[in-house]
Amino acid sequence: MKTKEASGTRPDPVDTSSAGSGSENKPEKKARTPEQIRRLGTARKWGEISLFSGPALLVFLIFVVLPVGLAAYYSFYNWNGIEKLDQFIGLDNYRRAFGDAAFVHALRNNLFVVFMSLLIQLPVALAVALVLNRRFRGRSFVRMAIFAPYILSEVITAVLWLLIFQPHGPLDAVIDKIGLGGMRQLWLADMNLVMWTVFFVLTWKYIGLAIILFLAGLSGVPKDLQEAATIDGASWWQVQRRINIPLIAPTIRVWMFLSIIGSIQLFDMVWVFTHGGPAGASNTVATYMFQYGFMRSQYGYGSAVAVILFFLSLIAAALYMSFVLRRDNADEKQRR
């Protein structure tokens, strides 16, 4: 450790050189040497840091880190949550998951939602945002209305659409009325159709967020860039493709991240719709975990599924973070 010059005697909050050493020093009553006062300063600083960050850290460690750690730990055991935790079975729970067709199906359902969101929601939302990116009457009303479904809870959304999709419900009535009675389906009870129905409702609920995010991004694109391009004879589409879309790429990435993470963790809506049914057709990894973990009290196996879920989110987050961290570091260097 470096020795500090005399000026280090005041309780300097930005004193790095001695950090970490003073936390156990108690104040002494005798005449203080500059060294003691300096230590007092660092002790005080560490006291303040623990006072400020301590409670949050404690709550975070107990209710987030500990359960996640326990999930990893339980995942190596065969355990029903009540008896002694002593049946260590190594990786058997993981093997069992990947060997279970129902689990693999659930995993595929999550990936279905991930890719369909990118494939359908992204272009549609982008197109709508580009078209709406201009002044017109009632613009703020349109924005609020588009945003409304996003604000609803997934549970209320699911109950709402459950009523719309019910046999002889309003959707069937409308289909009959326009003379397409043959198109009537068991929207949530048909094994081949149920995930499409879920995806449709997810799109209804979440596409508004994408549109609003993109509009917010577009409002940040300098107008003179677009004007200059138009004067140079660029068509509307060329302006979008060469200027607007590239410039809101960061916003698009933010949305992709939110969408992928959300799709991986999908639970509420499916649970209210179908509990993962019929016959597991609409299970996601999360509903599968809930069924085995809570309803069948297989805490060991459920935990293994939770860990797999964690790794799926981790992969998505790591990919994203590598983008963001690189950019942040560049920012930091610029500031110096």
Binding site: V59, A148, V155, L163, L209, L213, A317
Partner: protein, 290 residues
Amino acid sequence: MTEQEKTDESDVRKDRQSHDVGKLLAITVGLSAVAVALVPLLYVVLGGFRTTAQLAENPAGLPDPWVFSKYGQVLTSSNFWHQMLNSIMVAAGTTTGVILLGTMAAYPLARYTFRFKGVLYVIFTLGLMFPLTVAALPLYLLLRDFGLIGSIWGVIIPQIAFLLPLTIIIMRPFLKALPKEIEEAAQVDGLTRVGFFWRILLPLARPAILTVGVLAFVASWNAYLLPLLVLQGDAAGHTLPLGVQQFQTRYSSDTAAILAYTSLAMLPALAFFTLMERRIVEGLTGAVKG
């Protein structure tokens, strides 16, 4: 009129024409989007003014005659008000807790220099990668051991914990950006750093606190998995999402009542949150951009 002027004029006309086409397109797309978003919501609100018999006869029709008894039934049910109150208490508790703990934790991370600062920040931000779903099973057992099952604290405290990363990520850059001179002036005036935090930093951080608060409130208000695990037992102890879902299962034959219940559960939040649209968008992008 010279040739030049003619072409100029036709350019302008063409320009205006394409402008009009764009505007027309925007209005058409905008109105269709509004219809897609709002028609299902209208169906729920209007459906509550019908009887189940009306709904069965003509599922997609309008109320004829208007029936107010279903809404009256919900508004006079004690369960509905209990659930509303529970939702408000859980959301308010979560929001207050996360703002307080999160801002306090973000303060040293933003304005102190100390060893392990980077580590501490990374620990909190890594929390973003731990969704509640992953922790749900052990968390349930933990809450059971703490005797928090059935108590709203069993929902509030874990929700605070899981919202901390987001809060710290939003608060830290904001606190960091406040000018150093304010802090020095406070020191000269004899304010301790703790006093500085309470009396000066918290009031100054109001915009960021509002953003974080809205996000936390929305997340808590809409939460389902944790209340589902913790608030077992009778309906009076539920939050609204839980209550709506249970009501829907229990009274599945009374569609009109479900519609009334659902619309009363969603309307206040909808009205409040759409007004907060900008804050929510700001918060979400801010959080992910880091």
